[in-house]
């Protein structure tokens, strides 16, 4: 198995000019990123009212996922720590605005301003301690705390991630729940090693009947994410749920809100 980029160097170093270009010229990566962004937008369950929204793309990189947001008619602000990646986003003339920013230092946005957020393959980087000043727990806290604050009430954030281990996934999920988000983990294709994808679906505000988690894809037998058990990933799902009151997760209708 290839070494995880997270284990090689900090993101602003790993995604240098050549790596950023490689990332953005690989048709395989482009296709995967677009698919993940499309799915994240679907899980975001924005109201179907035709009004463009203001979204965040957290760890926007060269703007591959942002393009999917633009194609869906929304405005976006992208944040990334790699200036090489952002340079390529500029070259590609993306429609969103770009900020050079370290999300582990917290998001530099006013409270209640954003209608939703997506993140593709980025937030596991928060668990790196590349510098002596980087303490993953503090960085996660700063990130989720400011994310919660800048979202408008009831807004969602869908964060696709590649956790290195169940323990890391648990640490990230717990950090999100501690800041007041409701929601939890949606695992698409949980039975496939290759296709399995983790989406941390967060809802700003306490759980209510309107804040139900969307259903995962590719689950055989139609079981809910919260009902399957046995493998390590699903025990992590269970963990995030134990923190939440009552049975809000169990409603099986997809993305309904009023």
């Amino acid at each position: 198995m290839a070494t995880r980029p997270e284990n090689q160097a900090p993101p602003e170093i790993f995604y240098n000019d050549s790596e950023a270009r490689k990332y953005t010229t690989s048709s395989r990566i482009i296709e995967i990123q677009a698919k993940l962004a499309e799915r994240a937008l679907e899980l975001l369950a924005l109201p179907d009212d035709g009004i463009p929204k203001l979204l965040l793309d957290i760890g926007c990189g060269s703007g591959l996922s942002g393009e999917t947001i633009s194609e869906n008619g929304h405005h976006w602000i992208g944040l990334d720590i790699s200036s090489s990646m952002l340079d390529i986003a500029l070259e590609r003339e993306v429609d969103g605005d770009l900020l050079l920013s370290d999300i582990g230092q917290g998001l530099c946005l006013r409270p209640g301003t954003v209608d939703g957020a997506i993140s593709i393959s980025a937030i596991q980087w928060l668990c790196n301690a590349d510098k002596s000043c980087n303490e993953p727990r503090l960085r996660l806290k700063a990130f989720f705390g400011t994310l919660y604050r800048c979202l408008s009430r009831g807004a969602r954030a869908v964060l696709q991630l590649y956790p290195e281990s169940p323990a890391q996934l648990e640490m990230i999920t717990a950090a999100a729940m501690r800041t007041g988000f409701s929601g939890g983990l949606v695992v698409d294709f949980p039975h496939s090693t290759r296709a399995k994808k983790y989406f941390l679906c967060l809802i700003c505000g306490p759980p209510s009947v309107n804040t139900t988690l969307p259903k995962a894809k590719g689950e055989q037998g139609g079981s809910e994410t919260d009902e399957s058990s046995g493998d390590e990933e699903n025990s992590a799902v269970g963990f995030s749920e134990r923190r939440r009151p009552r049975k809000k997760l169990r409603v099986s209708k997809k993305g309904q809100r009023s």
Partner: protein, 122 residues
Amino acid sequence: MRLLTHNMLSCNIRGVTKGFPLELEVENFVTKEVPFNPDFLKHMFPKIEWKALHDAAKKMDDNDLPEQVDASMLENDDFLHRFHHALLELHLEEGALICPETGRRFPVNKGIPNMLLHEDEV
């Protein structure tokens, strides 16, 4: 960077309680035309800090925004077009953003604000 984004930005240096609005230092700006969508403007209006938008637009030689606004003006097409232009079509290319509380300068290059904090600011 559009003024839409500028209007949402706030300095998050540790200990800063009022990191908004960041003052604009304009060296160079550009205008890019984008499709007019009144629904988006009406959706965003309650979230916009008007004075910040008004002052920022002025720094880019746009003096067409009224100083005082209220929601009833969203029915006026002329107002909506001015609002649209200031919010979405003016882009800061080169310059800086200044934190109102600490005076910390965040440089803007090629339209991208560098919001990275130093270790002692986190």
